[in-house]
């Protein structure tokens, strides 16, 4: 299983199995300057299986590729021969409005899926940046959660069934089409957040929810993130239907989100029946005022929804930023973490998901010169001091958009049970052909 796979072997092996190939596309699938030898564009699960079987026979390293928005996550692959363009598997296979379930192929974009569900006044409460590019499979594999995870939990909570393809091309199923099911082991959990290192997600069945009849966003400015979080805690204690709660750092973060607020902005998204929303607006506005906030303009319905598209997108607007970070701490330490990040790069966008203690950090310049002094300083700061401070809070720091050359682990320490993770990789991808070397602990 050497890395000496040649196009002369790989291309005929794929063609021989009837796998559609995208010719001349390799440049658009380059990672850190390395192009794949071939790009497969399966349009059926069978073709996907055939592509993997061919790669497996040759020991060719494979990078599954959805919308490509998160290819900066983890290190660049240690070997790279075949890009698997999943976007040809883009169909919504079954939507049963009365069952509140949908089955969709992995290459369907999150935006297209929302469009298909919207006709029945339903949605999947999953909100990655760039939803019109981000695919369902990619969003799950990369473990991306947006502001809605505050109210609905991580995207994995919505998954009730999955078909995945193992590296040797075998198609395996777990779960099913029903919202309650304990038959067999929950294999889907390994692929969600697994970055395509144990198998490639082919189809997913989700439970979905009705679109709320009304929504609104209360905006309030606070002198510190601590004050904003205290106001949130007071509002949340009433059991109000808050589906997202983010604190944005002063200045440009609010500008990007299109809200006006003095200082740190607390954004509370409330949704449900009109009567519930009215009460939630009143009670959360009162909680903010009591904690010394100046209230901004109330956003309602489509204005509120559009505001949250920008908050979810934070810094991604047109293209993935050069570097982003995701910091997760126990929620009570969230404000502290948000403040710690500020001095590390002036002008960076910072958003704290309050109930989950997750901070998203993005460089807004759309490109950071990695040789420049600022970048080197950031590397040093993140790699040592900041990560230690976050770890001391019981948190973790993942940096995205990293380059192997900087000699820094983008994931940080892999935790207690790393031997089990290594065992999983050995069991499901013994040849190490799926996204090799990209994942936690170098898996």
């Amino acid at each position: 299983m050497s890395s000496a796979v040649s196009p002369a072997e790989l291309v005929p092996a794929l063609e021989g199995r009837g796998v559609p190939l995208a010719t001349d596309a390799a440049a658009s699938f380059a990672i850190a300057g390395v192009r794949p030898l071939a790009v497969a564009s399966p349009t059926t699960v069978e073709e996907l299986g055939a592509a993997l079987a061919a790669a497996s026979e040759l020991g060719a390293a494979v990078v599954p590729w959805g919308g490509g928005t998160r290819q900066g996550l983890g290190l660049p692959p240690s070997r790279y021969h075949l890009a698997l363009d999943m976007r040809g598997l883009d169909r919504v296979l079954a939507h049963e409005p009365a069952d509140l379930t949908v089955t969709v192929q992995a290459g369907c974009t999150v935006g297209a899926l929302q469009g298909a569900l919207g006709g029945a006044e339903q949605w999947l409460p999953v909100d990655p940046p760039l939803p019109d590019r981000a695919t369902v499979g990619g969003t799950l594999a990369a473990g991306i959660a947006g502001p809605l995870s505050a109210g609905f939990g991580l995207p994995r909570e919505m998954v009730i069934g999955m078909r995945a393809v193992l590296p040797d091309g075998t198609v395996v199923k777990s779960g099913g089409n029903v919202v309650k099911n304990v038959t067999g082991f929950a294999m889907d959990r390994l692929h969600v957040g697994g970055l395509g290192t144990l198998g490639v997600i082919a189809e997913v069945t989700f439970k979905i929810v009705p679109v709320p009849r009304k929504e609104a966003t209360v905006v309030a400015g606070f002198p510190t993130p601590h004050a904003a979080v205290e106001a949130y805690n007071a509002a949340a204690a009433n059991g109000l239907p808050i589906i997202a709660a983010e604190v944005l750092s002063p200045g440009n973060t609010s500008e990007v989100a299109g809200v006006r607020a003095d200082g740190w902005a607390l954004l509370l998204r409330v949704a449900g029946r009109p009567s519930a929303v009215e009460r939630a607006i009143d009670a959360s506005s009162a909680a903010c005022r009591e904690h010394g906030a100046k209230l901004g303009d109330l956003a309602e319905d489509s204005v509120s929804a559009a505001l949250w598209d920008r908050v979810a997108d934070l810094g991604w607007l047109d293209a993935p930023p050069a570097i982003t970070m995701r910091i997760a701490v126990p929620p009570s330490r969230g404000p502290e973490a948000a403040e710690l990040l500020r001095p590390h790069r002036t002008g960076a966008l910072i958003a704290l998901n309050v109930p989950r203690g997750v901070v998203r950090w993005a460089d807004p310049s759309g490109g950071l010169d990695m040789s420049a002094g600022a970048a080197v300083g950031l590397v040093k700061g993140v790699g040592t001091e900041l990560r230690h401070q976050i770890a001391a809070m019981g948190g973790s720091l993942v940096i995205e958009g990293w380059d192997r050359g900087h000699g820094l682990d983008p994931w940080g320490p892999p935790g207690d049970a790393f031997e089990v993770m290594r065992g999983l990789k050995e069991q499901y991808d013994p040849q190490g052909i799926l996204n090799p070397g990209r994942y936690v602990g170098g898996l």
């Binding site: 069952d99 309650k180 059991g239 126990p330 499901y428």
Partner: protein, 478 residues
């Protein structure tokens, strides 16, 4: 054996090692139908002791079967290959409640409802509520990914457990997940929940808490016809309402319940629906009104509504005593746990009636209609020749029906010993092979709860009167 017992005594204290036959008898059953005696019982008092027990058993080449309260209905706690049975019930402390982070860290032997009791002073609760919640433990809930009537709106155990401390087969302790919501790495927590104690033993659980709702309203609707009640379930969800619970009892169940508790169900009632809506006062009032209207539109002959705890309890009384009441109709029953998409409930009930006729055994249905989780209850008399075998065959036919309708073998009870031979109905060999490879990845070997979940091709089970049911009362179970 003597060396083993001595080592276990040193690890957990001699009081907590049981090896005399009369002591072991207590641990030969759970809520399911099979029995098997453990070789020895060791009851750890700390996580470190649990890890020692695992290491000792491993050295002696014996399996460890972890056990919570023994209320499981699929045989998850039956030590089918003997070895060391390890009840986790001494590990029963609520270690921490963090009202701001809305989470608690508890030991695995804490009884489900006691988490909510401990959280109540902070206005919080733990949402999943198996019907056995007054007895079952959180460790067992994690192993089985337990559900409950109120999982319709809130999800099952896996949606509420943030992390666990576990003992791996080599006796090491490790945390998977935790109070940090987004740790990098594979979601080991997610695959362990519902793995039926076959991969690791849980020694601590971090659970998510949620606010106790401000208002709760229970609506009981009586229908002349099961089909109308099924259609009402679909219509409620179709109206964009997701109640906390939608429960249903069929005609046969009502006929058993009415003489037992005098709930006032008409003699000709075909189905009773119980719907619970909760949340803020204003929307709860509106949803309650809408649910009542949907029920009337679908032919409900009577609708009763209650919003104070005592009156609500009264409306639930029929549902909560239903299985016990079925004992009036037959001495034995076989309780199933199949799931169908909720739009297929009507069809599923129709086919179950046909199966009942075909096998000449009455089948009562009392179940979680909102999420399509059926609990068909096959009534029989083991003293009558052939009935036991027939009930088992009828059970198989019902499970096949659930699969045919796009459903699943088990919604909340687990596979265990009871349904392992049916796994092939749902999963291909490749699917099961992928699942089975979790075992070597966790380095589990035959250490934990061997002989469960996957088909052995050898299971032939005698249906017995459930001993755990005799102890706790049948309605502690569905």
């Amino acid at each position: 054996m003597d060396a083993l017992v001595r080592e276990l005594q040193r690890a957990v204290g001699s009081r907590y090692v049981l090896s005399r036959p009369q002591e072991l008898l207590v641990y030969e059953y759970d809520g399911a139908v099979e029995r098997a005696l453990p070789g020895v019982v060791a009851v750890p008092g700390t996580a470190a002791q649990a890890a020692q027990v695992v290491a000792i058993a491993r050295r002696h080449g014996l399996p460890v079967v972890p056990r919570g309260a023994g209320t499981g209905l699929s045989g998850g706690a039956i030590p089918i290959h003997g070895g060391v049975l390890m009840p986790m019930t001494r590990l029963n402390r609520v270690l921490e409640i963090d009202p701001l982070e809305r989470m608690a860290i508890v030991e695995p032997g804490v009884v489900n409802i006691d988490i909510s009791k401990a959280a109540e002073p902070y206005g919080l609760r733990y949402a999943p509520d198996p019907s056995s919640q007054k007895a079952c433990t959180i460790g067992g809930n994690v192993a089985e990914n337990a559900g409950g009537p109120h999982c319709l709106a809130y999800g099952v155990t896996t949606n509420h457990v943030m992390g666990m401390e576990i003992v791996l087969a080599d006796g090491t302790l490790a945390w998977v997940g935790g109070r940090n919501h987004e740790l990098p790495g594979y979601d080991l927590r997610g695959v362990l929940i519902g793995s039926e104690g076959t991969l690791a033993v849980t020694t601590k659980v971090a659970v998510r808490l949620q606010p106790v709702p401000e208002a709760v309203t229970t609506i009981l609707a009586i229908f002349q016809d099961e089909d109308d009640a099924s259609a009402a379930v679909t219509a409620i969800v179709g109206a964009g309402i997701v109640p906390a619970a939608i429960e249903m009892m069929d005609r046969l169940t009502i006929q058993a319940v009415e003489p037992a508790i005098h709930a006032g169900y008409p003699a000709d009632a075909g189905a009773v629906l119980l719907v619970e809506v909760e949340g803020l006062r204003e929307p709860v009032a509106e949803e309650s009104e809408e649910v009542q209207q949907v029920c009337y539109r679908h032919g409900a002959t009577e609708v009763r509504v209650a919003d104070d705890p005592t009156l609500r309890e009264r409306l639930w009384a029929g549902r909560k005593t239903a299985l016990g009441a079925l004992g009036r109709l037959a001495p034995n029953y076989y309780l199933l746990d199949g799931v169908v998409p909720r739009t297929k409930i009507l069809e599923a009930l129709r086919r179950i009636r046909e199966i009942s006729g075909e096998y000449a055994l009455p089948i009562a249905n009392v179940f979680h209609a909102g999420d399509g989780n059926l609990h068909p209850c096959i009534l029989f008399d083991e003293r009558m020749p052939g009935q036991t075998q027939r009930s088992r065959e009828a059970g198989g036919a019902v499970l096949r029906t659930c699969i045919d309708l796009g459903g699943a073998l088990s919604g909340e009870h687990g596979v265990g010993l009871e349904k392992q031979e049916y796994m092939e109905l749902s999963f291909s060999e490749a699917d099961m092979d992928a699942m089975a490879r979790l075992n070597p990845a966790f380095g589990a070997g035959d250490t934990f709860n061997p002989g469960k979940v996957f088909p052995t091709g050898a299971s032939c089970v005698e249906l017995l009167q459930h001993p755990a049911i005799a102890r706790l009362g049948v309605d502690a179970f569905v």
